[in-house]
């Protein structure tokens, strides 16, 4: 495991900066949309807060009890989407996949939990716009962060 550590883009200065000082980490008290993605197996979660104005993501924050991969990806993703429109933000998910290159199976789950939490925050915003009284929108992850050795090896092929 430790001989084969793979961080997004390796342990670059950028990655280290996101590890030491995660961007947009925390909570927004006046969020328009709040979403949670939960891995029920490991209880790992990401909570995502979005402040939206005229379809622009004016502010964004996230928090997690997850691993450092989740933190780094959350930090990079929130930097990408802040001050951009929702359509761009949704396309940014693919852009992030491109930016991160070939991830391990576990890191893909980390990326997906961040993106799912963002999508949940948009869903919460839509629901509130439609008059639903919903504090936050919860989406449960289909894939768990707990990746088996076989899945990891399959992914490495």
């Amino acid at each position: 495991m430790f001989e084969d550590v793979k961080m997004p883009e390796g342990m670059s200065a950028e990655t280290l900066e996101h590890l030491m000082y995660p961007k947009n980490y925390g909570k927004l008290d006046d969020a328009d949309g709040t979403g949670v993605a939960l891995d029920e197996k490991t209880k790992e979660y990401v909570i995502f807060y979005a402040k939206l104005k005229d379809e622009i993501v004016k502010d964004v924050k996230f928090a997690t009890n997850g691993c450092q991969d989740t933190v780094v990806i959350g930090s990079m993703f929130t930097e990408m989407i802040k001050e951009n429109d929702v359509d761009y933000a949704q396309k940014a998910i693919q852009k992030m996949h491109d930016k991160l290159g070939k991830l391990s199976a576990q890191q893909q789950v980390c990326a997906d939990i961040v993106f799912t939490a963002f999508i949940a925050s948009l869903k919460n915003y839509e629901n509130k716009q439609d008059g639903t009284d919903e504090e936050l929108h919860l989406l449960k992850m289909k894939e768990s962060c707990e990746v088996s050795q076989e899945e990891e090896e399959e992914n490495d092929k």
């Binding site: 430790f2 928090a63 997690t64």
Partner: protein, 268 residues
Amino acid sequence: MTNKIYQQKHELWLNILFASFAIDDERIKSHLYDFSQIAFRHMKWFGNKVLESGKDYNYDRDMVLLKQESNFAILKVLKEKIEATQVFYPDTTLGERVKTDDTYLLQYVAELLANPVNNAEVTAFNMERKWEDLDQSQIDALTLFLFEESYKEYELILVYAYMQARTKNMLHFNVFEDLVDESHFHLKSFGNMMAKLGILALPRELHRMTYVVKDLDKFVKDGIAEEEAAKEMCKELSDSIKDEKLSKFFDFINYQESYHIKLMEKLL
């Protein structure tokens, strides 16, 4: 008694603790670490007072750990934070005790600042990541381990302290106390290693979803699984690194994690 005091004390505890990690002088490091433990007890006592008054506290914080380049820069920031916190203390027996402790700490910091011999370059934030006898891949592995586990130890300290403050079960109270003490030692060890590597950073803030535990049994079982994972990480790190001293250290931590599991089983 309000959450505001609790938050200020939480921030001051971290300020003192991370000043201790960042400063390389063993004498100053050791003194500041002792003061950080006193600050943690203040925080715990304020938390109890908040609960006794029928209110609640949280782990929100509003602070950054600036990249300082000298001991004096760190000590000046610490001095300002101690002074700014003093105004929040209440006029109670506890408030007076805490004020007296902090006044003594201020005096100690002032004495350090008065003597230029105490100033030195700080390398804890330079991101150079150098460690004798380790190659780059081993340093990468160590870096990831330290970020992962320093956060985890901070999380465990706060989560167990939160539960300890609310339990009426004496056995649970004592187990939480032991687990908090053990995590303090691990956080100290990892924090000092991060400083040595030049990657010292605050653990990220805890969200309420992390520390408000609704099902203790489930929490403990998940915690035991996490301890098992931490043990495995320590073992792999110990096996993969070539530095004998460091390798022995991770074996030592690994055995400690084994006993944590035994302690946690008492909570079931």
